[in-house]
Subunit: 505 residues, 2 copies
Amino acid sequence: MAERIANASFASKVMSASDAAALVPNGAVIGFSGFTGSGYPKEFPPALAQRMRVARDAGEDFRISAYTGASTAPELDGALAETGGVQLRSPYQSDPSMRKAINAGTTYYSDVHLSFMAGQVAAGFFPKPDFAVIEVSAITADGELVPSSSVGNNRTWLELADKVILEVNSWQSEDLRGMHDIYYPIGALPPNRVPVPITSAGDRIGQATLKVDPAKVVAVIKTSDPDRNTPFKPIDDDSRAIANYLLDFLHYQVKSGLIPKNLLPLQSGVGNIPNAVLDGLLHSDLENLSSYTEVIQDGMIDLIDAGKLTVASATAFSLSPDYAHKMNENAAFYRKHIILRPQDISNNGEVIRRLGVISSNGMIEADMYGNVNSTHVMGTRMMNGIGGSGDFTRSAFISCFVSPSTAKGGKISAIVPMVSHVDHTEHDVHVIITEQGLADLRGLAPRQRAKVIIEKCVHPDYREQLKDYYERACATSTFQQTPHILSEALSWHERFNETGSMLQA
Amino acid sequence: MAERIANASFASKVMSASDAAALVPNGAVIGFSGFTGSGYPKEFPPALAQRMRVARDAGEDFRISAYTGASTAPELDGALAETGGVQLRSPYQSDPSMRKAINAGTTYYSDVHLSFMAGQVAAGFFPKPDFAVIEVSAITADGELVPSSSVGNNRTWLELADKVILEVNSWQSEDLRGMHDIYYPIGALPPNRVPVPITSAGDRIGQATLKVDPAKVVAVIKTSDPDRNTPFKPIDDDSRAIANYLLDFLHYQVKSGLIPKNLLPLQSGVGNIPNAVLDGLLHSDLENLSSYTEVIQDGMIDLIDAGKLTVASATAFSLSPDYAHKMNENAAFYRKHIILRPQDISNNGEVIRRLGVISSNGMIEADMYGNVNSTHVMGTRMMNGIGGSGDFTRSAFISCFVSPSTAKGGKISAIVPMVSHVDHTEHDVHVIITEQGLADLRGLAPRQRAKVIIEKCVHPDYREQLKDYYERACATSTFQQTPHILSEALSWHERFNETGSMLQA
C-alpha cells in the first residue's frame, strides 16, 4: 500500500484529533466535508464536541456554525448537536440529534438548495468559513488532495476557509483516485462565470484532485473509520407499486417518442422507493441508461454490474455496508462508470435542464393542486431539508414526486387540501405517484390537476373526504382558478395535531 | 419605404382578417405572438372572435385554446375571452376579460414559467398548436420574417404549428430589423441540447430573422395598428421610497465589494416601482449598466439616451405611447443597445445564473418567513400569473421582491402570517422591500427572517398584529423551525373575505 500522505510538509502536520480541535476557537464557522453519510470527517468532530462540552460545562460560551455538503452521521451532526452549541447549520441535515436541536429552536437552520450553497457562501450570504475540515482518501506527493466517498462543497470550503484541517481516511479505497471530476471555473463569482461544458452525463470537465494552499493546512489527522453505511430495507409492496407506476410511465414516454429508448439521465432521491425503481430498471429490457443525480446507491451498482447503466454522475455514495465493501474492493472498475463532482455541478440546474434529467424525489405531502411539501411535518416541524430536490425539480425535463399515500399507519394522508408548507410550487411539479396510482399533471390547470390527483393518488380512506372538500370549495369559492375554503384548508393538519389522525370522525 | 412583403409567394397570400379567421376550425389550438402588449396580432383575433361569436350565438360549439408569449391586449385576450369560447389559456395573461373568464371557471388557465412554455409544448405537455398567428414587421425577399416589438415564443409556434398566419404591421419601424437575436439550437429537445453561449448581456448568438416553412403559410394580413402602449403614472412616494431602499442596497453591495461598480445585469418586472428604480439609476452616478430582463420600459430608454445603460437584453417592449413613438423614430439607434430574444433565452435560468442577474419583481403578498405569492389574491383569485418572476428569482444572484406594504387603502397587508398561495419559496427569496424598509434575508433561518421582515417591511398599522401572531406562534408551537398557529395562519385572509379588512377590530 502506498503512503496515504505522500507529501512531507503535510505529513509533518499530523496530529491527534483533540490537538486539532484545540485550534478551534469559540464562534468558529466550519465548512465540513460530508454528503449523505459519506466522506465526512470521523475523528475531528467528536474531539471538537468534547472540547465544546468541557467549555460549556465550565460555563464558558462555546458555539460554532457548521456547513457541510449535506447530511452526515452521528459522529458529526450527532456529536456536535448534543453539545447544544451549534449556532447555525446549513444547508441540509438528517441527524436525529441535530433535527431535535433545530426543532427546539436552539440551532438556526438555513435550508438551502444544495447547488446554491457554495455560491451563496462565496457571495457573502453566510459568514465565510474560518476552518475547512475535509476528509480525503490521500494526499499526493505534490500536495493535492484525493477526495474520498463524497465531494460535496469541499472545493469551496478549501478555497474560502482561512485554515484547513484534513482527515486522511485509509478505510477509503486508494482506487477512488480518478473517479472524481473537480471543476474549478464554476467557483468564479459573476460577472466572470462561464458555461458548464457538460453535454452528456459522462463528460469529465475538471481534474481528479482538489487543490489546497499548503500554507492554510494547520492539521492532518489519520483515521480508518468507515462511512455511515446503512442497509436498505427489503423492497416493500408500496415501494414496488410506486416503482412500477413510474416505470410504466417511462415506457409510455418512450413509446410515444417523447424520450429516447435509453430514457434520459435519471435522478432520484435516496431511499426505498428509489431502490425499488432501480430494481425495476434492472429487471427491465432497458439498456444504455445513464444517471445525473446526487447520490450513488446500491441499485445503481447493480445496474452497472449488469451492464445496463453506462455512467452515473453524482457527488457522493450512499451505500449499504455490503456495497461499500464492494466499492472499496472494486473502485478501479467502478471509476470507469461513476463520476463524483462538486455538488454545484452534480445538482446544477443549467446542466439538468440541458440534459433533460427525469427527476424523482420523495415528499412529505402534496396538495390536490400539485404543490409539494418536502421539509415541514404539519407545517412547523423540520424533517431534513429541501436538499437537492429543488435543484432537480425546477430544471427537470419531467419532475416526479413519490410517496406512499398515507403515513403513521393511515393517520396521515400524503395528499391534503392545502400543503402546510411549500417547497415545490404548482408550476414545477409534473407527476405525483403513490401506491394508488400516477397523476400526470403536465399542462393541466389547477382544477384539472385536482381531479386527477384525487382519482389517482389519494388513499381510499381519504378519497371521499378530499373529494368532498374539493367539491365544496368549487361550490362556495367566488373565484375558480384555485378554489379553497380558507378556514378548512389546513384543517386536516389541525385535526392531526388535535386528535392524532387526519381522518374525519 | 421598402415593400413590407418583399417575397412574391407570401404577397400572394394576402387576405382579409375575416377570410383568414374562416380557416380556423372549432377546437383549434393557436400559438399567438404577443408579449406585454407588444407584437400581438391586431386584426386576426377580433375577426376570429367575431366568427366564434356568430357560431356560438347559433348554438354551435366553437372553442379554441390560446398560447402566447405573455400578456397581450383587448384586441386579443379581451376579444377572445368575451366570446366565452377560450378553453385553455397559457402561459400568462393580464386582461380584465380573460381574468374574469379564468376566475369564473369557464377558461382553464395553466400558469407556466415563461421560459419553460416553448419547451413544454415541444415536449408534448400541451397539445401542439394547429396555427401560429404571428405579427412581424416585414417579410424579406427570401421569405424570412423580421419580428416586430416582441419575440416571445414566436420561433417555437412557427416551428410547431401546422399552419401559419402572418400579420405584417407597417406601424412597426422597419429599423427594428437587426435588433432581434433568434437562437435556434435551444429548441432541440434533450438529449440534443447544447449550452446557451451567452456570457454577457449584450452577446448576440443567433440570427436577426425568424424562419418559417413557406408551405405552412396560409394567410398574410396587413395592419398598421399600434401596440397597446399604456402611459406610466407619475412616480408616487411609495414607489420612490421602495426604489431608494433598493438603490441604497445596491450601492452598499458595491461598497462591500460583492458586486462590480457597474452592478450586475438588472432584471425588473413592469410597473411603477421598476420605473422609479430606473429613474433613480438615471440620477445616480452609476455607469456602464446592463440589463438582462424580460421587457424594455421607458426608464431604460432614458438610461440608454443618457449613456448610462450600455445594453438591454429582453424579449419585448412595454413602452408608453410617447416612448413607442420615439422607438419607431429611432430604432436604428436603439438597436445598437437593445437585443430582443426568444423568451426561453431572455428568461433562461442557465444564463441568468451565469450572468449573476439582480432581479426585482412585484408581488401580491409575502409572509413573515419569506414565502411569496405572486398570483392569487386571497389564495383563490388569479391576478395575472407567475410570468417570468420564477425564471429570474430562482437563478438570480440576488432576488428582490417589491410591493407597497398595504393595498386597498390599508385594508390589505402585503405581509401576512402565511401566504395564501406560494409561487416563490423561502429558499429563493433574498430581499423584500416595501416603502417601510428593506429586509435582507440572505443566509437567515426562518425565525431570523421573521424578525427582520416584521421590523423592516410591515406597515405600522399591522406591525403589532403580526408581531403578536409571531410571538404566540413561537410560544405555542412544539416545533421551532417555522412556528405557526395553523388555525390562525390564514385568518388575515379570512378576515378580509368576511369584513373587508385584514385589520383586527
